[in-house]
C-alpha cells in the first residue's frame, strides 16, 4: 500500500487543529499509512501565487520534492493547498523550462522534482483508496437519516481537469460519504458556489454576504449540518453564523469530513476534537450516534 505524507498547510494546525487530529485518526482507523510532514513551507497559494509564478512553483515544488525524496505521495486536506500542489505539479510536468528553474533552486538542498509524486485530496483517498464499502463497514454509529449538506470547496474540485477530484458542477463524493455514514445528503441552491473565504482579505463584507447566502440555502433545504473538505470553508461557514443577527439557536454545526465520519466510526469525541468546535455538533451526534451507541453498548454488554 502507498505511504502518504499529510501536508496540513499553514492554516489547519493553528486555526483548526481538530481537523488535523480527526484526519489522522480516521485515516489510521481505515488503514491508510499517513505520516506527518516536517521542514516544509507554505504552498504559496493565493498570495505568492498572485505575485510571481516561478516563486509559487518553487514553493509548492519543494513540498512535492520532499515527498519524492521519502518515496511518499501527498494527501492535502485544504482546498487551497491541494489546488496549489496539483496545479504546480501540472505546471512542472508540462513546462520543462519552469521545472529546470525550480530544480536549480531545489538542488541547493539536494532536492529534485521529477514528477513521480502524486497529490491527492483527502476525498480522493476516501473514495478511491479506501472505498465506500470499507467506509460503510467501519460505521458503527450511523447518523440515522439526519439531513446534511455537503460543501465541496471550489479549490477542491476546480479546475476539474487538473485536480481530478469530482464533477465540478455535480459533485458526489461528500454526498456519498454522508450517505455511507447513514446521513441523508440534501441538495441546495448554489451548492458548487464558493464559501467566500478567499474574499476575506480584500472585502470582509462581501465575503460574509457570500457565506451567509450559502447558510441560508443550506437551511432552506432542511439540512441540520454542513460537511466540508477544506479548512477555509469550514472556518468561513462557521464564522459567518456569528455575525449580526446570527442567533445561537439558529446556528447549524459545520463538521470537517473526518470529524463527521470519525464520530460514526466510533472514534471518541476528544480524539476528533469535537469539544473545540465553535458550534456544538451535539444536535447531529444526538440525533444519531448517541442513541444508536446505547443500543450498541447494550449489545456489547450482552455478548460479554
Amino acid at each position: 500500500m502507498t505511504d502518504y505524507f499529510v501536508y496540513t498547510g499553514c492554516t489547519t494546525p493553528v486555526r483548526l487543529p481538530a481537523y488535523e487530529a480527526a484526519t489522522m485518526a480516521v485515516l489510521k482507523h481505515l488503514g491508510v499509512n499517513a505520516h506527518h510532514m516536517k521542514d516544509v513551507n507554505c504552498c504559496g497559494a493565493q498570495y505568492i501565487e498572485s505575485l510571481n509564478r516561478s516563486a509559487f512553483a518553487a514553493m509548492s515544488g519543494r513540498i512535492l520534492a520532499i515527498a519524492e525524496r521519502f518515496g511518499k505521495d501527498v494527501i492535502a486536506i485544504c482546498g487551497a493547498c491541494s489546488g496549489s500542489l496539483k496545479h504546480v505539479k501540472h505546471m512542472l510536468d508540462t513546462e520543462p523550462d519552469l521545472k529546470a528553474e525550480v530544480n536549480e533552486i531545489l538542488a541547493e538542498e539536494d532536492l529534485e522534482y521529477t514528477g513521480k509524486v502524486e497529490v491527492k485530496h483527502l476525498l480522493q483517498i476516501l473514495r478511491d483508496e479506501v472505498g465506500y464499502d470499507a467506509i460503510r463497514r467501519a460505521i458503527v454509529q450511523p447518523y440515522n437519516g439526519v439531513k446534511l449538506a455537503a460543501h465541496y470547496g471550489c479549490h477542491v474540485t476546480r479546475p476539474a481537469e487538473i485536480v481530478q477530484v469530482d464533477d465540478p458542477e455535480v459533485p458526489r463524493s461528500i454526498d456519498d460519504i454522508i450517505e455511507a455514514c447513514g446521513g441523508d445528503a440534501v441538495d441546495y441552491a448554489g451548492k458548487v458556489r464558493c464559501c467566500g473565504g478567499p474574499m476575506l482579505a480584500m472585502d470582509e463584507k462581501v465575503a460574509t454576504a457570500i457565506g451567509s447566502e450559502k447558510i441560508t440555502n443550506v437551511k432552506a433545504a432542511g439540512a441540520k449540518g454542513i460537511v466540508t473538505a477544506c479548512v477555509f470553508c469550514n472556518i468561513q461557514l462557521t464564522q459567518v453564523q456569528f455575525g449580526e443577527g446570527g442567533e445561537p439557536k439558529d446556528r447549524i454545526p459545520v463538521l470537517t469530513l473526518p470529524q463527521f465520519m470519525g464520530a460514526a466510526m466510533g472514534i471518541d469525541e476528544e480524539t476528533l476534537g469535537m469539544p473545540l468546535n465553535k458550534i456544538s455538533p451535539d444536535v447531529l451526534l444526538e440525533f444519531a450516534h448517541r442513541i444508536e451507541s446505547k443500543v450498541i453498548r447494550r449489545e456489547q454488554e450482552a455478548k460479554r
Binding site: 487543529p17 516544509v40 493565493q46 516561478s54 465540478p168 467566500g196 472585502d203 473545540l276
Partner: protein, 175 residues
C-alpha cells in the same frame, strides 16, 4: 440573489483599442485565452463576488483589457478581488478563464509595483516566516494541539523562502 445591474453597453466594443494591452496579457502565462472572449457575460452571472459587490464584474474587467485600458486595470484593485473559485471558467462556453486572466494581470501589476497592501504584507510574511500563521500560533493553541495528541513543534522551514525572496523579490515586493 443580489441584483446584477451590469449594463450591456460592453457588447458594442470599440474596435480600436487604445493600447496593446490585450496582446500583452495574451503573452503572459494564463492570459492566452483572452482573445476568445465574446463578452457574453456568463462569467459575471455566475460570479459570487458580483452577486454581492456592486463594483466587481469579470466581463467588464475583461472588456477593459480588450479595449486597452492598461493603466486603469493595472492600478485598480479589481483584478485582486477574484477568488479564483473558477465557477466562471467552468461555465464560460468559449473556454476562457477570467480567473487565469486576472492572475496574469496581477503578475504584470506586481512587476510594476501595484500590489494591494494585504497581498504585499501576507506574501512578505510567507517569505520571511516560511508560513502564514506564525503570529497567530499562541500558547493557547499549542495547548489545544497537545490535548489533541498533536505535535506542538510545527517545524516550518523558512531558509528556502528567504532564498526565494532574494531571487524573486529583491528590490521589489516587500523590501
Amino acid at each position: 440573489m443580489g441584483a446584477r445591474t451590469e449594463t450591456n453597453k460592453g457588447l458594442e466594443i470599440e474596435h480600436t483599442p487604445s493600447s496593446n494591452f490585450a496582446k500583452e496579457i495574451e503573452a503572459e502565462p494564463g492570459g492566452e485565452g483572452i482573445s476568445k472572449c465574446i463578452q457574453c457575460g456568463i462569467c459575471t452571472a455566475s460570479c459570487a463576488v458580483s452577486s454581492f459587490s456592486d463594483r466587481y464584474r469579470p466581463r467588464q474587467l475583461i472588456q477593459k483589457i480588450i479595449i486597452g485600458k492598461r493603466d486603469e486595470v493595472l492600478q485598480s484593485d479589481l483584478p485582486w478581488l477574484c477568488m479564483t473559485c473558477r465557477l466562471c471558467e467552468e461555465r464560460c462556453q468559449e473556454g476562457v478563464s477570467p480567473a487565469e486572466i486576472f492572475q496574469a494581470v496581477r503578475h504584470i501589476a506586481t512587476r510594476e509595483g501595484h500590489i494591494p497592501e494585504v497581498f504585499k504584507s501576507t506574501a512578505e510574511k510567507a517569505l520571511s516566516d516560511g508560513w502564514l500563521l506564525g503570529d497567530a500560533y499562541s500558547d493557547f493553541i499549542e495547548d489545544d494541539r497537545d490535548d489533541l495528541g498533536l505535535d506542538t513543534d510545527l517545524g516550518w522551514d523558512n531558509e528556502f523562502t528567504h532564498r526565494l525572496k532574494k531571487k524573486y523579490f529583491s528590490g521589489g515586493e516587500g523590501d
